[in-house]
């Protein structure tokens, strides 16, 4: 089985935000929630870098560990998904997540947290693959159709890579060797406890 991961090559990211738009549209993400976003560090200064970030689908995911109702599950492909039927919107996954992935629609009084929403790696949820119920709660299930997440698929500079961790790491390594530099696979140490030597 593949172990699906994201890898953002920050030396290629031009902060066009197409991945953000693609994600919002493909998954009909609710208003006010961004499953993916692009952050620019040292904006306008020499050496600035932009990184596209979403749920990294961590190994031994902290959200899954701290969830009081155990609504998370990791698929055979290493994708971390959750059940909105079981989520109670307590906010604990959001305290534990290193990447700010879990977000909550503001529903009810005091703007209290609704059911958590996060990147699904375009892999839907626990409902039947491709069902309407799945689409309404989680968005597209491209993985079940043999497609990769749309954000990475349509990245114009091929900065954002999605796919089996070993393959995308190999692609990145070859790039680094060819061009002679690389600022590393952002978030990999935190998410997967490994880094790609550059």
């Amino acid at each position: 089985m593949a172990r699906m991961k994201f890898l953002c090559d920050a030396d290629r990211c031009i902060e066009c935000n197409a991945c953000v738009t693609a994600c919002k549209n493909e998954n009909e993400v609710p208003w006010g929630i961004n499953r993916r976003r692009v952050v620019t560090i040292n904006d306008g200064k020499p050496g600035e870098r932009s990184v596209s970030m979403a749920c990294m689908h961590c190994t031994d995911a902290p959200c899954q560990a701290v969830c009081p109702v155990n609504c998370f599950y990791t698929t055979a492909d290493g994708v971390v998904l959750h059940s909105k039927d079981l989520c109670i919107g307590c906010g604990y996954c959001f305290y534990a997540c290193p990447f700010g992935a879990p977000q909550y629609p503001k529903v009810g009084n005091f703007g209290s947290r609704g059911k958590m929403d996060k990147c699904t790696y375009c892999a839907g949820g626990p409902e039947a693959d491709g069902s309407l119920a799945e689409y309404e709660k989680y968005g597209a299930n491209r993985l079940a159709e043999g497609k990769l997440p749309l954000c990475a698929e349509m990245c114009s500079t091929k900065s954002l890579l999605a796919g089996d961790g070993e393959i995308i790491a190999q692609i990145y390594k070859e790039r680094v060797v060819k061009r002679g530099y690389g600022s590393g696979a952002w978030g990999w140490m935190t998410a997967y406890r490994e880094t790609i030597a550059s």
Binding site: R37, A65, P68, V69, C71, Y181
Partner: protein, 340 residues
């Protein structure tokens, strides 16, 4: 000759210009790779360096939700360990430890009896308002405690028993109850603080009371005012502990009002630790107020205590009340008696 001079002037001028350009332009020469190609990452931001400097990486983003501009914050790992391991140990040791202590104490000491028996005359101990505030706070506390413990201990203990759907249904209601009952609870803590502060300032009587172990361990009854040192401790645990859980709880209930993620992690740590210690302390309070001591429960239930109970447990307060002539007729028969 003139042309030679012009040529020399031109050469000197060109050299000077070249010298100035050479000195001024590359203040920071471009760093190059060993093969003399330009290295564009020489000044690039570095992830591990940024994480070493601060424990989070933030930048600029173009979406309206500016919280999304925080790229990474691995501190969640430490919080995860606290939530999964540390808090469970603190909670289990303090709550189970207190229960074991109480059972052992009950089995060895038993209920603290009225030595002189009942006199048949009673003193008013708590007004209707005081009892209302006490029971409002207490009933909220019990629901808050159970729903809170469910968040920390429900997944390993209750979830396997009732299954995920039922556990989610219960936890969802528990969350609503926890959020909404926090308001009357906080009000109760505030009212308790205001209405009993006058009798809860520590004084010399408390030192003597504590030296004698409150008479709990032995058979002696050290003198005490309206509240003895043990009750004063409960009072301050309720006021300070209740204040701490309320403040930290509201920070969690209203995310990003004055906090960031690190602040909320800290608030949850304070909330969790204070809450489990609070529960352990309240178990002791419930014990001594019910099966631990004869004649204590009725003071908070129908507001009146037997004169002999007052003399034994709150001798100074009893003297004052008797001096004022506050003794009233015996309560009607068939009133509530705990554990009898």
């Amino acid at each position: 000759m003139a042309t030679h001079l012009t040529r020399i002037r031109f050469i000197i001028g060109a050299l000077t210009l070249a010298f100035i350009v050479a000195c001024a332009a590359p203040v920071k020469a471009q760093q190059r790779n060993p093969d003399n190609s330009v290295n564009p990452t020489a000044s690039a931001v570095n992830e591990s360096q940024l994480l070493n400097e601060l424990d989070r990486i933030s930048g600029r983003c173009t979406i309206p939700d500016q919280k999304a501009c925080t790229l990474e914050q691995p501190a969640g790992r430490d919080w995860r360990h606290f939530h999964q391991v540390t808090l469970r140990w603190i909670g289990a040791i303090s709550i189970l430890g207190m229960l074991v202590l109480l059972v052992v104490f009950y089995l060895t000491r038993g209920m603290v009896r009225l030595e002189a028996g009942r006199s048949g005359r009673v003193l008013v101990r708590f007004s209707a308002f005081e009892r209302l505030v006490h029971w409002m706070t207490a009933s909220c506390f019990i629901i808050l405690a159970l729903s809170g413990l469910n968040i920390t201990f429900g997944r390993p203990l209750l979830l396997p028993l009732i299954g995920p759907e039922a556990f989610t249904a219960w936890s969802q209601w528990a969350k609503y109850a926890h959020n909404y009952l926090s308001f009357p609870f906080t009000l109760g803590v505030f009212l308790i603080f205001m209405m009993w502060i006058a009798w809860n300032i520590p004084n010399r009587v408390d030192v003597e009371w504590l030296k004698e172990g409150g008479g709990i361990v032995g058979d002696r009854h050290p003198p005490a005012g309206r509240f003895n040192a043990g009750q004063k401790m409960i009072y301050w645990i309720v006021v300070l502990g209740g204040g701490a859980v309320a403040a930290s709880g509201y920070l969690l209930m209203f995310p990003f009002y004055g906090t960031n993620i690190a602040g909320m992690q800290l608030a949850q740590i304070v909330h969790g630790v204070v809450a489990v210690l609070f529960v352990a302390a309240m178990l002791g309070h419930i014990y001594i107020g019910t099966i631990g001591m004869e004649g204590a429960f009725e003071g908070m239930w129908d507001g009146k205590v037997d004169v002999n109970w007052a003399k034994e447990h709150h001798s100074l307060w009893a003297q004052e009340e008797l001096a004022k002539g506050h003794v009233s007729a015996p309560p009607p028969a068939g009133r509530m008696q705990a554990a009898e």
